[in-house]
């Protein structure tokens, strides 16, 4: 019990440090939020221009929930890249902290940050589009899918985080490309059915596909979560598989980095 408490306290160190960083970079955070809101509004206005409230809500859901998932992914995936940039990576890896403790802290902050960021965006969109009626939506279904999807994205984020560990300069770029591919195949702004056949097959591997399908079913049609097992089960399976896989891959990558001297500061 004492061991667990100690590890949770160490996890909190990463939560607190990331909060400090967010606070210090508040100007960039504000700029990022304005950019995200402007992007979501621009896309959603396509639906408003078409005079189709259903299309509008489809686009709003895509913009808002992709924002959440991508923010969670980015924070976790950049865990290593940021430390490498600042030069603190060796100090963090020297500390008597288990790697899952570090990643847990990063994931908790990523999810909290993603929720706040997305809530702010959602609030603006609801003000901008008063025709959206939250009272007719099944918010419970949407919330459950976001929660389940978060676990899968944590696992993918952990795997993406090892790229800057393995490839000192190109790792962050590869992470960015991976995130872009998830955006393309997951049906964020359009049905997956419009994609070429091979992309539709790939879309089944993206947890965002199931999250967005579930959220849309809940918010557009008011579908209860109990009627959506076809989307829940893949998400649960991905969460169960991807988090341990992410931890395992991270451990292997750390060992490789220590063998080849890639933890060393660059730049």
């Amino acid at each position: 019990m004492a061991l667990l408490t100690g590890e949770l306290k160490a996890s909190y160190a990463f939560v607190e440090r990331n909060f400090f960083l967010t606070r210090r970079y508040w100007g960039w955070e504000l700029a990022f939020l304005v950019y995200s809101v402007a992007g979501a509004l621009s896309i959603s206005l396509i639906g408003a221009a078409a005079g189709d409230d259903r299309l509008l809500l489809t686009l709003v859901i895509g913009a808002v929930f992709w924002n959440y998932l991508s923010v969670v992914f980015s924070w976790i995936a950049e865990t290593i890249a940021v430390e490498r940039w600042e030069g603190t990576l060796e100090y963090t890896f020297m500390a008597p902290v288990r790697r899952w403790t570090q990643l847990l802290g990063s994931c908790l902050y990523a999810m909290a940050y993603g929720l706040v960021h997305t809530a702010a965006m959602l609030a603006v969109l609801l003000v901008f589009f008063p025709q959206l009626r939250p009272e007719s939506m099944n918010v419970l279904t949407a919330g459950a899918f976001v929660l389940l999807g978060s676990f899968s994205f944590v696992g993918i984020g952990m795997m993406a985080a090892i790229l800057p560990l393995l490839y000192v300069e190109r790792g962050a770029q590869m992470t960015f490309v991976l995130q872009s591919c998830l955006l393309l195949v997951s049906g964020v702004y359009y049905p997956v059915s419009v994609l070429p056949g091979w992309m539709q097959a790939v879309s089944h591997l993206s947890p965002a596909t199931y999250v967005l399908a579930g959220v849309r079913a809940g918010l557009l049609n008011g579908t209860p979560i109990t009627a959506l097992w076809g989307d829940i089960l893949p998400l649960v399976a991905m969460g169960i598989a991807l988090i341990p896989a992410g931890l395992w891959a991270f451990g292997r990558a750390e060992r490789h980095a220590k063998r080849t001297g890639k933890l060393k500061r660059v730049g």
């Binding site: 100690g6 306290k9 160490a10 909190y12 160190a13 607190e16 440090r17 400090f20 960083l21 210090r24 970079y25 600042e86 030069g87 603190t88 060796e90 100090y91 963090t92 890896f93 020297m94 500390a95 008597p96 902290v97 288990r98 000192v168 300069e169 060992r255 220590k258 063998r259 080849t260 001297g261 890639k262 933890l263 060393k264 500061r265 660059v266």
Partner: protein
């Protein structure tokens, strides 16, 4: 706990390795740091042969010592420090810290050691206090106690309380290095690894840091490994000195022993600079890329 042969049982003519065949007579405390036949290779490019950064290095530091490691750029000093910290894996050999194996007892060893490197690496937008608080939490320290202790240590190093809330990036290089030293001391390491901690500091800051290193050594009972290019600093602080060249130990002893050696055997002046030149065969100004680690 390790066992060693009592000095009185040593038989003339036997090498230390031979001597262990005899019955162990006493139980001695574990050394603060034991490095045995450690080798580390890097392969900068796949098709090229590996570069040997550390070549069969052995060291033994007793508790409370300040041990200097000297060598030209690229001699393997920083690689050796990284190996002891667990930031690099060993290709051959073993390292123990107070009797704990750095690979088998990784977390326990990490609690005992800390390091100050030549580049003061921080989250530059965060304040010294925020950076130190993060480090303290990683080592399991209570936040309130960590704040008080950080303030005390930084004050002792000449950093006013009014500076503790401002971003590190607004501090001079010397002040940043002092914060780095404070970060290491905050965790009360029993083995402190100082990798060129005074490089780039002005003379006053250098003297303050050197005085503080001495204080930490005596008042905190910390064993210290110091790598430096400043020979006067090594002479002032270090009880024993190891010289590395090309990843190998080429000489080891106290400063007077090493000076006497180069004077008697090589006819050189009795200075530490002559010791350095004799054993490394290189100029102090040689600017060779440090270590053989890959950056690709």
């Amino acid at each position: 706990m390790t066992t060693t042969l009592a000095p009185e049982l040593n038989i003339a003519g036997l090498a230390p390795d031979d001597a262990v065949a005899f019955p162990v007579a006493t139980v001695a405390p574990a050394p603060a740091l034991l490095v045995e036949h450690v080798t580390k290779r890097f392969r900068p490019e796949r098709r090229k042969p590996p570069v040997i950064a550390i070549d069969d290095v052995s060291l033994r530091l007793e508790r409370g010592a300040i041990h200097g490691i000297l060598g030209a750029n690229g001699s393997g000093k920083s690689t050796l420090i990284r190996l002891v910290c667990g930031l690099l894996t060993l290709d051959e050999g073993r390292v123990e810290v107070f009797g704990l194996d750095i690979e088998r007892d990784e977390l326990a060893v990490k609690r005992l050691i800390n390091r100050v490197s030549v580049d003061a690496a921080f989250f530059k937008k965060l304040s010294p206090m925020e950076n130190l608080l993060f480090a303290a939490r990683l080592y399991g320290l209570d936040a309130g106690a960590a704040r008080r202790e950080a303030t005390r240590i930084l004050g002792r190093l000449g950093i006013a309380q009014s500076r503790l809330g401002r971003p590190v990036e607004q501090m001079s290089r010397g002040m940043q290095q002092k914060v780095a030293i404070a970060r290491a001391l905050l965790t009360s390491p029993t083995l402190l690894l100082l990798d060129e901690p005074t490089t780039g500091l002005d003379p006053r800051s250098k003297l303050e840091v050197q005085a503080f290193v001495e204080e930490v050594n005596t008042s905190h009972d910390a064993t210290i490994v110091l790598t430096t290019h400043d020979l006067a600093e090594a002479e002032r602080l270090c009880g024993r000195i190891t010289l590395l060249n090309g990843g190998r130990v080429v000489a080891e002893g106290t400063t007077p022993e090493l000076k006497r050696l180069v004077a008697e055997r090589h006819g050189q002046p009795e200075t530490l600079e002559a010791v350095f030149m004799t054993f490394t065969g290189r100029s102090l100004d040689d600017d060779v890329e440090e270590d053989g680690e890959t950056d690709a």
